[in-house]
Symmetry: C2
Subunit: 448 residues, 2 copies
C-alpha cells in the first residue's frame, strides 16, 4: 500500500479536496443542493475506484450513497460505513483558511470535514481501489455513506431496515473516531449513545418592559437558567429522576484496562485552554468522557441578544440540551424521563415545551472477536505498538441500530487525533495519519 | 384646550405620524441617520409651535434637541424633558401593522414610539403651541429631548452639566410613564434606578465535540445557567453580597398609601398571559414592581442556536443582566458589588468577564410640593378623580442626575396605560389619553 500511496499521492489530494470543497452541512436546509452534489461526487469516486455499481438513494431526509463490489458468496463481506455530511462551519472569522477551500499547512489538511468524516472515509475508498487494481481483493465490499450523521441519522434507520438484504455483511467497518495519540494507537470498542432535546420556557405572552414588571413575574430566562442549573448536582451527577437506573457500573478490571491509556492532565487542559476540569465525583476524566453519561447545553438563547441594551423581560427562552448515554441506557426512555423531569421542576408561572430532537443508543464491541484481533494486528504493524482498547465518548448513534438490524458488529478503526478539533474552526487531518490509516486498513483486509 | 384640540386634530395626527415614521432606534448603529432626522423634525415642530429658538446639539452619542421661549425673569420656568429615541421594533412578524407606518385602530395609534415617548412628548409641544397662540402663556418654557433614553442616557449627563445654565428651571416636567388605569389617574412620585451589566463566561478556547469532552470539562452555558440561577434565592431575594445594604424599608404608612392603588390579580395575569406571579416574599406585586429592587436577565445566548442540532460544548456563553434599584441604592456601587459577586461564584474552570453597560439612580418626588399639587388638581379636573401618588418600577435614569445638577425636581405626569405595551410589538397610545393628557398639561400650566 505504501508504494501505491507514494505513486498516487497528488491524485489522492485532488480527489479528497474535491469533496472538501462542497459545503455539505446537513443541519442547514440552505445546503440541500450541496448535500446532493457531495453524494454524487462519492458515487463517481466509488465507481472510479472499482465498484461494480454505486448510486445515490433517496430517503425522507438527505440521500444515502451505496456502492459495492462482489466476488461471490465464498468471500467474507465488509460493510464500510461513513458519512458525507459535516458540521456547520461556525464563525468564519475564527478560521485561518476558508473551511471549504482545503489547504495544506504543517503536514495537515485544513478544511471542514478534513477528518470528520470525509478524510477518514476517503481512506477506505482508496484502500479498496488499491486492492482492486493490484488484484489483491479477497472480500466482498459494500459502502454506505450517509448524509445525516451530524444531525442524528434520522432517516437512515428506516432505510437500513428496508435494504437490510442488500447491506448484509460480516462486519461494519468505520473510521469516524480518534486514536489516543499518534504515538498510542487505540481501537474504540464502545461508544456512548445520545438523547438530544430542545426546550422552550414561556413566561408572559409578549416581551415586557423590565422596569414595569421586573420583580413581580417569572422571567423565563432566569427560570430556564435555574432549571438547567439544577440538572447537575454538586457531585456532578445528573438529577433527572431515574436517569442512572440502567447504567451498568464497570468492573474494577475494566476500569484498570481503561486506565492504561496515557493521560496528561496538564497537556489535556492546555490543548483546550482551560484551567480546571470538572465532572462526576469518583471518576477520572477518561472515565467521565468514555464510560459515564453526561448532560450538556449545546445552545441557549432568549431575549435581546444584539449589541446595546434593551430592558425587557423576554417572553421566551430556549435551549438545546443533549445527554450522552452509556450502553444499556435507552435513548427513548431517557427522553421520556427528561421530559417528565423538566416539566416537573418548572414553576407554575411558566409554560414548558420539551421536544425530543433525536437519539441513539450506545454499544460495545467484543475485543475477542476476529475483526478486533485483525484490526489490532494491522495497527500494531503500522504503529509499532499494540493498540489500546478504548471507550469513545462520542456517538455514532446509527451504529447501534445497524448492529441490531444487520446482526453485524461495528469495528471502529479511527485515525483522527484530538488536535484535529473536529466540529470546531480549523478542523484538520494529519497527512501522516491519512496515509498510516490507509496502510492499517489495507493490512486489516489481509488479516480479516 | 378642548376646543383647540377639536379644531387641530387632523394636523396633530399628521405631525405626530411624521415623527413615528422615523425609525429612531438608538440601540442600533444602523439607525444613526434616522436619529438625526428625528431630532431635526422635532426642531421644526418646536419652532412651528412658537419657540424663540430650537436646535440640534451634538453630544458624544446621539444628539440632543433643545428649544425654548422666554417671557422674562419674572416668570417661573418649566423644563419639559422627553426622548425621541425608541426601543428596537423586535420581530416584525408579531406586529399587526408596520411599526413605522402608524395606523389608527379602535381609538388608538399603533406604532413604535406611539406612547414611548414620541406620543407623550408631543402632548407638551401642542399644549405649548396652544398657550402661545392664544396668548395664555405665563411661564418660561424649555424643551430638552434626548436620543439615548432607551440605551441609558450615556451622553446626556455630561451635556446637562455643560449646559446647566441654559437648562436652569423650577421643575422638570415629564410624560414618559403610565397611569394605573384610564379610570384611576396617578402621578408617579418615585422611580427605580438601573444597573445594566453584560457577562461572558468562557470555557474551552474553542467549541468542542460534546461526545469527546462531555462530562469532563466545565460547559460554559451550564455554568452560566447555574451562576444566574443562584442570583435569586428561594424567597425571591437577590443574593449579590451587600445588595440590600442601602435599601430603605418603606414605613407602614407609605405602604398603605401605595396599597390604595387598585390591583386585580387575575386581570393583571390575564393581560400578560401568565398563570402565576412570583417575587420577593413578604411584598405585594405592586410593591415588588415599585419599591423593591429586582434582577432580570434581558438576554442570553451561547452555542448553537440555529435550526437543527449541533453537538458541541460551546466556548462561550453570554447574558445581559439588569437590576432595578430603589432610591438610596447607588447604581455604580451595585455594579461593583455585582461584578465582585459574579466573579466570586464562578468555578475555577471558566473565565468570567463582567462589563458595566450603564446605570442610573432612582429618585423620589415630594408630594407636598407646589408642582405635585398643581398636577394633581389638573388631573382631577380632567378625570374626575384625585390621582393616586404611585411608585413606578421603570427607570428614567437621567432624571436623578438632572435633579442633582439642576436643583429642580422632576414631575412625572404620565398618560400611558399598561395596554399600550411599550417596548413590545404593537405598541399603541389611546387617542383619548393623548387628548386628556393635553388637557391635563394645559391645566397644570394654569395652576402652577
Amino acid at each position: 500500500m505504501k508504494e501505491y500511496i507514494a505513486e498516487n499521492k497528488e491524485r489522492f489530494f485532488d480527489e479528497l479536496f474535491s469533496l472538501l470543497r462542497i459545503p455539505s452541512v446537513s443541519a442547514d436546509p440552505r445546503h440541500k443542493d450541496d448535500m446532493r452534489a457531495c453524494a454524487d461526487r462519492w458515487v463517481e469516486l466509488l465507481l472510479a475506484a472499482g465498484a461494480d455499481s454505486a448510486a445515490v438513494y433517496e430517503t425522507a431526509g438527505h440521500p444515502v450513497v451505496f456502492g459495492s463490489k462482489s466476488l461471490g458468496a465464498g468471500f467474507p463481506t465488509i460493510l464500510v460505513y461513513g458519512h458525507y455530511d459535516v458540521q456547520p462551519e461556525g464563525d468564519l472569522k475564527l478560521w485561518k483558511s476558508h473551511p471549504y477551500e482545503p489547504e495544506i499547512r504543517d503536514g495537515a489538511i485544513y478544511a471542514r470535514g478534513a477528518n470528520d468524516d470525509k478524510g477518514q472515509t476517503f481512506m477506505h475508498v482508496k484502500v479498496f481501489e488499491y486492492l482492486v487494481r493490484t488484484g489483491k481483493l479477497r472480500h466482498n465490499v459494500k459502502f454506505i455513506f450517509e448524509g445525516e450523521e451530524e444531525t442524528g441519522s434520522d432517516s437512515l434507520g428506516e432505510w437500513v431496515k428496508a435494504h437490510s438484504k442488500m447491506l448484509s455483511s460480516d462486519i461494519i467497518l468505520v473510521s469516524d473516531t480518534t486514536m489516543i495519540s499518534d504515538k498510542v494507537p487505540s481501537i474504540n470498542c464502545g461508544m456512548r449513545g445520545l438523547t438530544y432535546m430542545e426546550v422552550k420556557v414561556t413566561g408572559p405572552d409578549k416581551d415586557l418592559h423590565s422596569g414595569h414588571y421586573g420583580g413581580g413575574i417569572f422571567n423565563p430566562v432566569n427560570t430556564l437558567c435555574k432549571m438547567i442549573g439544577s440538572l447537575i448536582d454538586d457531585e456532578g451527577r445528573i438529577t433527572v429522576k431515574g436517569f442512572y437506573d440502567d447504567v451498568v457500573e464497570l468492573s474494577r478490571k475494566d476500569r484498570r484496562m481503561l486506565a492504561r491509556a496515557p493521560f496528561d492532565k496538564k497537556e489535556y487542559m492546555d490543548s483546550i485552554g482551560v484551567g480546571a476540569l470538572s465532572g462526576e465525583k469518583g471518576y477520572t476524566t477518561l472515565e467521565r468522557e468514555g464510560i459515564r453519561p453526561c448532560l450538556d447545553v449545546n445552545g441557549i438563547w432568549g431575549g435581546y441578544i444584539e449589541d446595546g441594551s434593551k430592558t425587557i423581560i423576554p417572553s421566551e427562552a430556549h435551549a438545546k440540551i443533549s445527554m450522552r448515554l452509556v450502553p444499556n441506557q435507552d435513548c427513548d426512555r431517557i427522553a421520556r424521563l427528561f421530559t417528565r423531569h423538566f416539566k416537573a421542576i418548572a414553576p407554575k408561572g411558566v409554560k414548558v415545551d420539551v421536544r425530543y430532537v433525536h437519539g441513539g443508543n450506545g454499544f460495545l464491541i467484543p475485543i475477542s472477536s476476529k475483526a478486533y484481533k485483525a484490526a489490532s494486528k494491522a495497527m500494531e504493524e503500522v504503529y509499532g505498538i499494540e493498540p489500546v482498547p478504548s471507550r469513545g465518548g462520542g456517538s455514532i448513534t446509527i451504529l447501534a441500530d445497524m448492529q441490531r438490524i444487520l446482526h453485524a458488529d461495528p469495528l471502529l478503526m479511527g485515525f483522527g487525533l484530538e488536535r484535529d478539533v473536529i466540529h470546531s474552526p480549523n478542523e484538520s487531518f494529519l497527512i501522516e495519519q491519512l496515509f498510516k490509516g490507509m496502510e492499517s486498513i489495507a493490512l486489516f483486509y489481509k488479516y480479516f
